[in-house]
């Protein structure tokens, strides 16, 4: 999560300062009284009967904060929300992880969390697409599907007994090739309806993992094996994946056009700039940064320059103020 070190000269510093001040004044946090540090007591109406949530504890009848953050109140629940915390997986989150270990009947993935996640063999579609019991042969062939170091997109299943289990049953999950994996702070990626985005102009796939891993890569059509080859499935010989034929196909597909690679790098740099500035990463903000960089005719590596970062900050402040006025 290394940030870009910005060397700002005096005018750029002033401009950035001004932008940050505008953003602060626009922000929806009503008063700074609601931010607490550890062992601050939180004012509650004791007659109502208060539910003490995360980040609070009872001390001599007073509700005291145990974390630094903002106090949130929902009806009777009072809790402290930290601003920079580790990613906590919730059911249905889309996450991207890297395989760390191939274990018995499961893969262990690193998902930027306090513990590694498990992807069970039974939670993964077989390459031939048939739904069947996983046999010992399947276990021995686990490496044909995923190996150590592969980047995988999956969904969080019910996290039970302190273990994080993932599932990758749909065609849109699975191994990710031909692209870049970026690490940003987990709080910059908010949970939304859609995490899979496709930038049509550039033919680039964008996956925003809730755990702070963002994938920018070549566009892949989600193939549904069941629909494509109904004839072949009936033939038992085709069930075993034929290594030679797959590798020939893949060699054709392996070559990514230079144009696409440029766009992938540009999108990745846009995400890096946004994460350095600390702005939320959404499809709109990434599109804006890319458009800004193209309209300014910047080379891809020039996107890390201090001038561009200040421009991005100013544009973002403009965008937020205009969206507020619309409301």
């Amino acid at each position: 999560m290394r940030e870009i070190q910005l060397q700002l000269n005096q005018t750029q510093k002033l401009r950035l300062q001004k932008v940050l001040e505008t953003l602060e004044s626009q922000s929806s946090i009503p008063n700074s009284d609601s931010s607490v540090t550890i062992s601050d007591s939180i004012s509650v109406n004791h007659e109502d009967g208060v539910l003490k949530g995360h980040g609070t504890t009872d001390h001599n009848g007073e509700v005291v904060a145990t974390l630094c953050g903002i106090v949130e109140r929902v009806n009777k629940l009072v809790y402290v929300r930290t601003l920079r915390s580790r990613y906590k997986p919730e059911d249905g989150d889309i996450v991207i992880g890297r395989v760390v270990e191939v274990a018995q009947k499961c893969w262990r993935l690193d998902i930027n969390c306090s513990q590694n996640a498990y992807l069970m063999l039974s939670a993964m579609n077989m390459p031939d697409g048939v739904q069947r019991r996983r046999t010992a042969v399947d276990e021995l062939n686990m490496r044909r599907i995923f190996e150590e170091g592969d980047v995988i997109c999956a969904e969080v299943r019910r996290s039970q007994h302190d273990d994080i289990h993932l599932q990758a049953r749909s065609q849109k999950y699975g191994k990710l090739n031909a692209g870049q994996l970026l690490t940003v702070a987990p709080y910059l990626v908010k949970r939304q309806k859609q995490h899979f985005h496709h930038l049509e102009k550039f033919d680039v796939d964008l996956i925003l993992g809730c755990n702070g891993f963002v994938w920018v890569g070549e566009h892949v059509e989600a193939r549904d094996v069941m629909v494509e080859d109904p004839v072949n499935l009936s033939d038992p010989q085709v069930l075993i994946p034929n290594e030679n034929s797959v590798s020939l196909e893949e060699q054709d597909k392996n070559y990514t056009a230079l144009e696409t690679r440029n766009y992938i790098c540009r999108a990745a740099n846009a995400v890096r700039v946004l994460s350095t500035l600390g702005f939320t990463i959404t499809l709109e903000s990434i599109k804006e940064v890319i458009d800004l960089s193209i309209s300014a005719n910047l080379d891809i590596h020039d996107m890390f320059g201090s001038e561009f970062c200040v421009l991005v900050a100013e544009k973002e402040a403009e965008r937020r103020s205009s969206s507020k006025r619309k409301r």
Binding site: D40, R86, Q115, Y187, G278
Partner: protein, 243 residues
């Protein structure tokens, strides 16, 4: 009793404090704390699954690794590890994450007196940075008694070596309420808050020790203010930027 300190400070004056958080990118939480020339870097990793054999699995356990600036780990370092472990076990709320281990790695960058208090402050800031729930913050200072029975705070290495006795004291920080009127009430009754750790070296009289406690507790107010200011602006700014 007037005391001439080599660097010209008054007996109650602390050295300039500097604290920065999130210095290490791969650690879950990290902080550096500098008091004058003494500088310590602390990193927190955790909570990680599993506890060691001797530890109670119903509670979170804390593991301290002390790394001196030169040489191998010796007996004195093991003693520091034990002191820090006991201090932080009383601060952290151990029932929240049972059967986990939180590791705190303390690296001494430069030692110029009052090393243990500096380390405790750094580790506390690192725990806050990692987002681990704490009951209260630990504020540590060093008081030393000189040959002419004068009590000075935050001695440098020279002063520590010449002193008759010195004590490392760790207090919980003073509470400030979100409702401003209440904080005045809390400030007027400082003795009610208790003490977390006290480590003494050398021989001093009981009266001297009680004076040290008083002076130390009065200084915790200043240190708490510094800690609070250090933690607040960053959080509100980040929240407004993230939108």
């Amino acid at each position: 009793m007037e005391m001439d300190r080599p660097d010209g400070r008054s007996p109650n004056q602390l050295r300039p404090l500097a604290c920065s958080r999130s210095v290490l990118h791969r650690a879950h939480g990290s902080a550096t704390w500098a008091q004058g020339e003494t500088k310590v870097l602390a990193a927190v990793y955790g909570p990680k699954a599993g506890t060691k054999k001797n530890e109670n699995p119903e509670k979170a356990s804390i593991e301290i690794i002390w790394k001196p600036n030169t040489g191998h780990i010796g007996q004195a370092d093991r003693e520091y590890e034990m002191i820090l472990k006991k201090t932080f076990e009383s601060i952290c709320i151990r029932t929240i994450y049972p059967n986990t281990t939180t590791s705190i790695v303390v690296q001494v960058v430069h030692d110029d007196g009052a090393l243990l208090p500096c380390a405790i402050n750094a580790a506390c800031a690192a725990l806050v940075d990692a987002g681990i729930p704490l009951r209260h913050l630990a504020v540590a200072i060093c008081c030393s008694v000189t040959d002419n029975n004068c009590i000075i705070l935050d001695p440098s290495k020279q002063e520590e070596e010449k002193a008759k006795a010195f004590a490392y004291l760790v207090f919980p920080n003073t509470t400030v309420s979100v409702v401003p009127e209440k904080s005045l009430q809390a400030g007027s009754d400082p003795m009610a808050h208790g003490i977390i750790t006290s480590v003494t070296h050398g021989a001093m009289s009981v009266d001297d020790y009680l004076h040290c406690l008083e002076r130390g507790r009065a200084t915790t107010q200043r240190l708490s203010e510094f800690l609070r200011k250090n933690m607040e602006p960053k959080s509100t700014r980040e929240a407004s930027k993230a939108g």
